[in-house]
Symmetry: C2
Subunit: 401 residues, 2 copies
């Protein structure tokens, strides 16, 4: 129940009494609700394009899914039947990441930790090998660069793999980043482009002009007038209290639990991303190994559970037995923004002035460069990149109205 | 390497230059090094007997093994071959706990959370059942109160038990306490008896009078003269830098990792302590369930490891499948004070004036009342309780000299 929900307004700039602003800040071109990797990437690119941008974050930047994500940039291994269009988007954004990371490292004066060692997708028994083989055939039919390896060849590439590894697919161009480093770099890059970032401040209302939205109102009573309002609130996008129900996108929280293991940087448990049917293991250059992630339909529940941690540890151990010796440094649960078809929502929202950049589910880090490019194109009145066709919010119009 | 180790001194009150005190505090009857459950219990009882007592703790009270222990008071289940004398001590101290807890709750103005629901020791397969049956026969031959149950009878008593539970031993008089609550209560009880508790202060030297010890010197340069000096430093007792090597007891750190799970107090995963061959599960009245503990020879290593947590979760899940749904609230590793024969060291040390109250390994909480009683008897020149015969430090004299 969202008691503060703004009802559809009819008059000009009509807002509910409890959300009436006490002061009005300078108008900006774009106000972005949410300072995760998506919101910050959009803000940075929009500011670079000359727009005045303000980002409003209810907590700290990266405190949602961005702060929990493993940062795997592995579109090839994600290839699955019926999601070929999503794969196009993933591949397009993956192709943008090296330049994005390089530019961001410079603008954000930070190490963005892009690790480009490829990924090894492994099958831990004959059944899993059959499934992986069918996915490999799909990858091949889609023209993706990937190589089938025997168990022995897998262990030769990645000597820490367990004896049960039966076969694998090597995707040499897959990579990983540290999302926490990306958030920090994006924040600095935004600030150096003049983006205002307001933190610890929930959005509680909207500035309405008939059916249009012309900015937001924050909990402190400040009005933030803007030509465009971007909803980039991750898992909370589907229940934003400042949007009328009919304008809420079909985004739900999908819980993920994830572990940070720590070993010696000089002797990593794995040299590249290792993915099995039930766990992925993403090495960082400092000796950390991220093991993720559960996928749970639990609503807004971020409890770490014995069962979730057990499953991750068991599967990590099956793939890479040496993880047993690693320090368990952090266990955390986050909420991904899920959508009915697992594809994001990037484009015009259901109200004039409302723009959606949300619903990235398991692919928010990967899709950030493409999403930001698409949002800037939209804000400039240009066509979205074709690869974002899968993300058109209009596909759910019947659902949301 | 203990560079600050005090070498055996020859002259009266001779101390090494780096440990020369800058000021001398009031002489007390007893100075106790270590404010764990053992040190505090000894302090409380000694003060009650009219002695002036000062406890010196390098960190916070209960920051060693006491802060990690599950608080299981289950001597029957611990019965094993060759440790019958230790069992005598455990049973004697177990018999003292109800009164100890009651008196402490009053003196410490605190809930000591003594849970008296008994314990169920379960076998998860036929092999484990054979082993448990042999231990049950031992319990019976020792006259311990325990009952053999079939798997079905176990599940009738404890419906959350997994389907693989094959048989069990019900020990109805076993119980558990929350060691954190005990530490808090002991601290208040001590203070109300006039015990001085000095925290955050390492002991760096000893006040020597020939072969005798007459108190300690702390890092701040203060001398603490005392007739008796009690070493109650837990896992650190074997490497106390202020004792000559020949007076160090054979105590080594034995690492234990332990989990705190949290469920609803109204719907506990177990109504009593559940113990399998590889894990014990101790319920608290507030819905927590403590799952412990690994036993690892790793020196002074308190890292939480993936393998340790995995093993505890796996075994907890085998015994009580519902734990999968519980929140994993805390994971921590501590260091038990281990000895060559697993029995404690309670009695006169190798120097005149030195008293040992250490080496309690996995039984520190259980043995606290008996240990404190024995220490007070010793300080008053009386004989130790016969049940503490197993703890006589003299049994290692050949080892320590």
């Amino acid at each position: 129940m969202n008691l503060n929900r703004v009802m559809p307004a009819q008059g000009k700039d009509r807002i509910l009494p409890e959300n009436r602003p006490q002061n009005t800040l300078d108008r900006v071109d774009v106000v972005i609700v949410g300072a995760g990797v998506i919101g910050l990437a959009c803000a940075w690119r929009a500011a670079q394009a000359g727009m005045a941008v303000r980002v409003i974050e209810r907590s700290e930047p990266g405190s949602g899914a961005s702060g929990v994500a493993a940062g795997m940039l592995a579109p090839v291994g994600e290839a699955t039947w019926g999601e070929e269009e999503l794969l196009d988007a993933a591949l397009a954004s993956h192709g943008m990441w090296a330049e994005f990371a390089g530019e961001l490292a410079e603008a954000g004066r930070a190490e963005t930790s892009l690790l480009r060692n490829g990924a090894l997708h492994v099958a831990l028994d004959a059944d899993e090998a059959g499934e992986l083989r069918r996915r490999f055939d799909l990858m091949s039919s889609l023209g993706l660069e990937a190589e089938w390896l025997t168990g022995r060849e897998c262990r030769s590439l990645e000597p820490g793999l367990g004896p049960s590894v039966f076969a694998g697919v090597h995707a040499p161009h897959e990579s990983g980043v540290d999302p926490a480093a990306i958030v920090s770099a994006l924040r600095r890059a935004c600030e150096s482009e003049g983006v205002e970032i307001v933190t610890g401040m929930p959005v509680t209302g909207a500035l309405r002009d008939g059916d249009a939205i012309r900015g937001v109102v924050t909990e402190d009573g400040a009005a933030h007038p803007a030509d465009s309002t971007i909803l980039a609130a991750g898992a909370w996008s589907g229940s934003a209290p400042w949007l009328p129900a009919a304008a809420l996108p079909p985004v739900r929280p999908v819980k993920g639990q994830i572990l940070t293991l720590r070993g010696a940087a000089a002797d990593p448990a794995a040299g590249r991303i290792v993915v099995s049917e039930r766990v992925y293991l993403v090495p960082r250059s400092d000796g950390r190994l991220i093991a993720g992630a559960t996928v749970e339909e639990m609503g807004f529940d971020t409890r770490v559970t014995a069962g979730g941690v057990f499953e991750l540890l068991r599967e990590a151990y099956r793939a890479l037995p040496d993880v047993a010796e690693l320090e368990l440094e952090r266990v955390v649960a986050g909420l991904r923004p899920g959508t009915p078809d697992n594809a994001p929502l990037v484009g015009a929202g259901a109200l004039d002035g409302l723009v959606l950049a949300t619903g990235h589910f398991r692919n928010g880090i990967l899709l950030a460069p493409l999403t930001a490019q698409g949002i800037v194109a939209l804000l400039q009145g240009e066509a979205l990149p074709p690869a974002l066709g899968v993300a058109d919010p209009a596909r759910f119009e019947k659902v949301t109205t």
